[in-house]
Symmetry: C2
Subunit: 428 residues, 2 copies
């Protein structure tokens, strides 16, 4: 007999269906038993007499197959309940180390992550990762429609994009290899290889020793790169349209998720406000008394300037442009003597994107390396495409877990990773 999902039972009123799922709760009232059954689409109450349960030991979270009739019941959640004929036990569950069927998970984040297979069963986490998947789908669909090619570039590399800091290293047969800290060199190479527009959804690795609520050592980067831009504002305009499109698809296709996660989608205006780093520093000094900042924003400054943007322009997004060149990687396109054609995008107080125009002239790139004390001969593979016709180009990267956490109002980026990897955590 074909399985029916709980969300579909209303189509089968007064008929017998076969349901599969987990025992969320079982209450016995003399001759009658009430089993709350959960599958990936929802929950339903199954009414069973003692004979149907027989000798089954249905512990919480046991896996069962239920056969029964769909009965309209206005008092039931969803408007239907099941009058069960039989229950088959597919797999038992031992007593749980944490309560996962309360309205809110009460265990500490560390306990939740230690028992990830359990904490993920909580509806709030089921929905959070459905939201994350929808974000990725929105990213992919917008870029597919825009002629971007989805690519997969190596994470095992011979060198870092920045010369070797904060890299995990390993032995690759006879050679030393590193885990890629970004697909930067590869997406640039592919733009120059004639694809012009590429994107990648993939892991990146940072061997950073700090342990904060906004850093992971392995995370999913939503990367894109495109050729034939005029300047960084082309990339910023693309990201604006991209975010509009992602949020619109969430609104249209995933209203249920937004509602159950109580998410207020941010409004992305026709243009996201932008200010230069110098302007931001002036505001921070004059409005918030932060006269200690020189050429970068710390986490508190990011929160303050986002607060300012919300007050001033009613925007939860803010581009900071013209980052000081010396704070940016060597491939960053300069703008004037000390500034750069690069930007960050802040959202609800946190940086979620770094992007900008890149250098496309071979000589200029070699010189930029030398000015930073990097040896161009170590970047021979990367430099090749710049010798054989590299178009003007730029791109950006969005941190998936950060975007997910900020949207859903989770305070720690680990919550938005199925199996986070941090300074101390390599399991489960």
């Amino acid at each position: 007999m074909q399985r029916t999902y709980i969300s579909d039972i209303h189509r089968w009123q007064d008929r017998t269906v076969n349901l599969n799922g987990w025992v969320q709760r079982l209450r016995s009232l003399g001759q009658v038993n009430f089993l709350l059954l959960r599958d990936r689409t929802g929950t339903v109450q199954v009414v069973l007499n003692n004979e149907a349960l027989a000798d089954l030991e249905l512990t919480t979270e046991s896996v069962v197959e239920v056969t029964g009739r769909v009965v309209k019941e206005s008092r039931a959640h969803g408007g239907y309940e099941i009058w069960g004929d039989s229950v088959q036990l597919l797999n038992t569950a031992e007593p749980l180390p944490m309560n996962i069927n309360a309205p809110q998970l009460k265990a500490t984040l560390d306990t939740q992550l230690n028992h990830r297979s359990l904490s993920l069963r909580h509806p709030s986490n089921q929905q959070l990762f459905r939201l994350q998947s929808a974000l990725v789908h929105g990213f992919q669909e917008f870029l597919n429609a825009g002629g971007f090619l989805q690519v997969f570039t190596p994470k095992l590399v011979a060198g870092g994009t920045e010369g070797g800091t904060e890299l995990f290293s390993l032995q690759y047969f006879e050679q030393k290899a590193y885990l890629a800290q970004s697909p930067q060199f590869y997406k640039q190479t592919l733009v120059g290889s004639g694809f012009e527009r590429v994107y990648e959804v993939g892991h990146v690795y940072r061997a950073e020793r700090h342990a904060t609520a906004r850093h992971l050592n392995e995370y999913v980067s939503l990367d894109l790169e495109m050729a034939f831009i005029q300047d960084e504002f082309d990339i910023m305009a693309l990201e604006t349209r991209l975010l509009q499109s992602i949020f619109e698809s969430l609104r249209v296709c995933h209203g249920d998720l937004l509602e159950s996660l109580r998410i207020d989608l941010p409004v992305v205006g026709a243009a996201i406000p932008h200010m230069t780093m110098d302007e931001a520093l002036t505001v921070l000094r004059e409005e918030f008394g932060r006269s200690d900042l020189r050429d970068d924003l710390d986490p508190e400054a990011e929160r303050l300037i986002c607060h300012y943007a919300k007050q001033q322009w009613n925007s939860e997004f803010l581009f900071i442009t013209e980052y000081p060149l010396h704070k940016r990687p060597m491939y960053t396109m300069p703008k004037g003597p000390a500034s750069s054609a690069s930007f960050d995008l802040l959202f609800r107080g946190v940086e979620i994107t770094t992007g900008g125009q890149r250098i496309h002239n071979h000589g200029q790139l070699v010189q930029a390396m030398q000015e930073r004390g990097l040896d161009p001969t170590l970047f021979g593979d990367y430099l090749e495409v710049f010798r054989y016709g590299m178009p003007p180009h730029g791109g950006l990267a969005i941190g998936l877990e950060r975007l997910t956490a900020l949207l859903a109002g989770r305070s720690n980026v680990r919550e938005a990773s199925l199996f986070p990897r941090d300074r101390h955590r390599l399991t489960p």
Copy 2:
């Protein structure tokens, strides 16, 4: 002025457009010059007088911006040419180390891979990777529609799925870590975490020392796993529908790619033929004299049995079922005393999928580990979900580069990887 793609110029007849791209060829006939311009959508001939070229040194593969009028010209490829007004040089190209504008790339595969940013510019490679991206898109869309959740699981893991062989290892701060050889444990955990149906498109790592035309040490695995199956035939039926859907979307949406790559799409019947390993061994012995095979197929046997399936059932696909249990990983569901509920899918002589039902009972899984000499205490994190209600489940993995190469008739899987990683290659 907005850029126009070469594939769109027919919409702009007799009007002035702005084109961006690479100089594929430049011929001069006295006062007139013929520049063959290429962008990611195609090529077009630009007719220029000497003044328009001025002093520009337009070497092959230089990057230019061309402004000119679209003129109908029946003799031109595509029916139009551009009467150029002006050319702007955006970036120069040095003399190329290999000829990339011949009908066929003549350089050895090694040379092509060494100069990947150049060899990828050849139309055959542009198309190959558009095909690959379309395959992934077809995989994603079929599974999205089927309620599968796209997930991202860690590639930095504390142990191997098989106990530590053929793993790349690295230092993860104070701990020893490995690169995941498969998302197997994680996709099972997520199935048991209530998502029921998950898929992942991601890298996997095999530290295998052999260097063959069908192995990579880093490749993209199309993985899926689903709960509440009856047996491995549910997974095989799903893969059949999946392949039908992918090829149908190629046929409908990417006819141009199929034509230019000269791909004959395989026909996937309502059911792909299947035979047990025992049956396959019998055929190989009786039809092909291969009496040396015991409990597995070697590459030649895979080719022969595919040949047989083509002759017998006119199918380019063949499932081999009931692999001997001892040839399969410990999580494989047994079938009878020595066989297993697992399968391979062969396509055009090569294995492209391994899949099957998995053990879902905790005690049975622990015993399976012990029978193989694996210490269950080393698999504590993996085993947790089996203690708290794991449904019957199964899944499969498809090697993306193999599928791509086989479809396009490329003899070496490296050709179907943008930047392959093999026994000796870690660059570019």
